[in-house]
Symmetry: C2
Subunit: 228 residues, 2 copies
C-alpha cells in the first residue's frame, strides 16, 4: 500500500468520524506532521477526496473539510432513498443464496452489537456493522454504479449521524433494530414492494430523527469549526 493510499484512508476516516471538523482548513504542514509523510501523497489523497466531496478545494488557497448543512443532509438522504430502493429491488431480483446468507449474517452481527451495553458497547463497531448490513441488502443489485453512489452517499450521511450517536442524542420510542429485522425479512421473502417501502420508511425516520437531534443541539453539530 502506497503512502498516498494510506493518506486517503486516514483522511477519509478522520473526516467521516468528525475528528477533522467540518470547515476546518487542511494545511499541508499540519497534515504532514499528523500523518508523518511529505506533501505529495497528501495532496493526492486530498484530490481524491475533493472528487468525493468530502474535501473542498479552492485554487491556490488549499483544502478544507467539506462543511455540513441541514439542506445537504436532506438532499443526500432523499437521493439515498431513490437509489437504494431501486438497488434493493434489483438485489431481490438477482440475489442468490450467498446474498441471502450475507444479509442474515450481517443482521445477526449488527443485532449482537446493538444489544451490548456499557463497556462492550462500541459505537464504531456498531457503525461498521450497520454499514455492512445496508451494503449486504444491496450487494446483489449487480450495478457497480449504484454501489458506488450508495457508498458515496453513505459516507456523506454518516458524517451527520456520528456526532448525534456520540451525543447519544437519539430520540427514544423507536426500535431501530426491529426496523432492520423487518426490512431483512421482507427482503429475504423477496417481497420487493414491502422491502423498499420499509427501507424508505426507515430512512425517512432516520432523517427526521437526525434533523430533530441537530435542531435540539442548536445546530452545533453542523457548525463550521474553522479551527480545531
Amino acid at each position: 500500500m502506497t503512502l498516498a493510499e494510506k493518506a486517503y484512508d486516514a483522511l477519509r476516516h478522520d473526516i467521516i468520524r468528525g475528528e477533522l471538523a467540518p470547515g476546518r482548513p487542511l494545511r499541508l504542514a499540519d497534515l504532514s506532521q499528523r500523518y508523518g509523510m511529505g506533501f505529495s501523497p497528501l495532496r493526492e489523497a486530498l484530490n481524491r477526496l475533493q472528487a468525493e466531496r468530502l474535501v473542498m478545494a479552492e485554487s491556490l488557497r488549499g483544502f478544507r473539510v467539506a462543511p455540513l448543512s441541514l439542506d445537504e443532509l436532506h438532499d443526500a438522504m432523499a437521493l439515498r432513498i431513490v437509489i437504494e430502493t431501486e438497488a434493493l429491488k434489483a438485489s431481490i431480483g438477482h440475489g442468490d443464496d450467498a446474498w441471502a446468507s450475507g444479509i442474515v449474517s450481517a443482521l445477526y452481527a449488527l443485532n449482537l452489537q446493538a444489544a451490548r451495553t456499557g463497556g462492550e458497547a462500541n459505537i464504531w463497531t456498531l457503525e461498521a456493522r450497520h454499514h455492512a448490513f445496508h451494503r449486504a441488502l444491496l450487494a446483489a443489485c449487480n450495478s457497480p454504479w449504484m454501489m458506488e453512489f450508495f457508498e458515496r452517499l453513505y459516507a456523506a450521511t454518516e458524517r451527520y449521524r456520528i456526532p448525534v450517536l456520540l451525543a447519544a442524542a437519539l430520540p427514544a420510542g423507536r426500535d431501530v433494530q426491529a426496523e432492520h429485522s423487518a426490512l431483512a425479512q421482507a427482503t429475504l421473502d423477496r417481497d420487493a414492494g414491502k422491502a423498499s417501502a420499509l427501507l424508505d420508511q426507515h430512512y425517512r425516520r432516520t432523517v427526521d430523527d437526525l434533523a430533530e437531534a441537530i435542531r435540539a443541539n442548536d445546530g452545533d453539530i453542523l457548525r463550521v469549526r474553522l479551527f480545531g
Copy 2:
C-alpha cells in the same frame, strides 16, 4: 487556474472524447510530454479522475484509462434513467421562469446545430449543446447530489456515444430532435408524468441504438487499446 486543474480538464476531455483510448496506460513521462508539465500536477489530476472512475489506478503500477464494456453502458444508462427522471420531476416542481427560459434557449441552440450539415456540422458543438440541453432540464431540481451524479453518468455514457457519432453509425428512422422537442414541451407544460416517461423512452432508445451500433461494429469501439 493551477496546472493541476488544467491537467484535470485536459485529461478528462481527452478521455471522454476517446483521444486517450480505453485501457491505454497513462505513463507519467508521456503525459508530462503531452501536456507540458511536471509529474505533480498530473498525478493530482489522475487521482481526481480515478475517484470519478474515468481512470483506473493500480498500486505501484500507475494509471490507465478506464475500459469500456457493454455491461457498464447498460448499468450507467439504467441509473441515468432512475436519477434523471427523479431530477426532472423535482425540476418541474421547483422550476421558475429562468429555468424554463433556459430550456427553451438550450433546445433552440441544439436544434440549430443539429440542422447544420457539411462544413458547418460539428460534432463537438452538437455534443456540448446536447449536454447543455439535458442539464437545463434538470437544473431546477435543487439537488446538488443529483446534479453531480448526472454529470458523472453523463461523462461515463458520453464515452460510448462519441465513437458511434464519429463513425456516423446512428441508425436511421429515429428523429432525435423531435424527441428532444416533445420532452421540452412536456417539461414546460409541467407534466411531470409525461416528461419523465418521454425521458425514459428517449434513453431506452439511445441505449438500444448505441448497443446496436457497437454490435454492428463488432465491439471494436469498446476494445481495450493497450497502445494507442
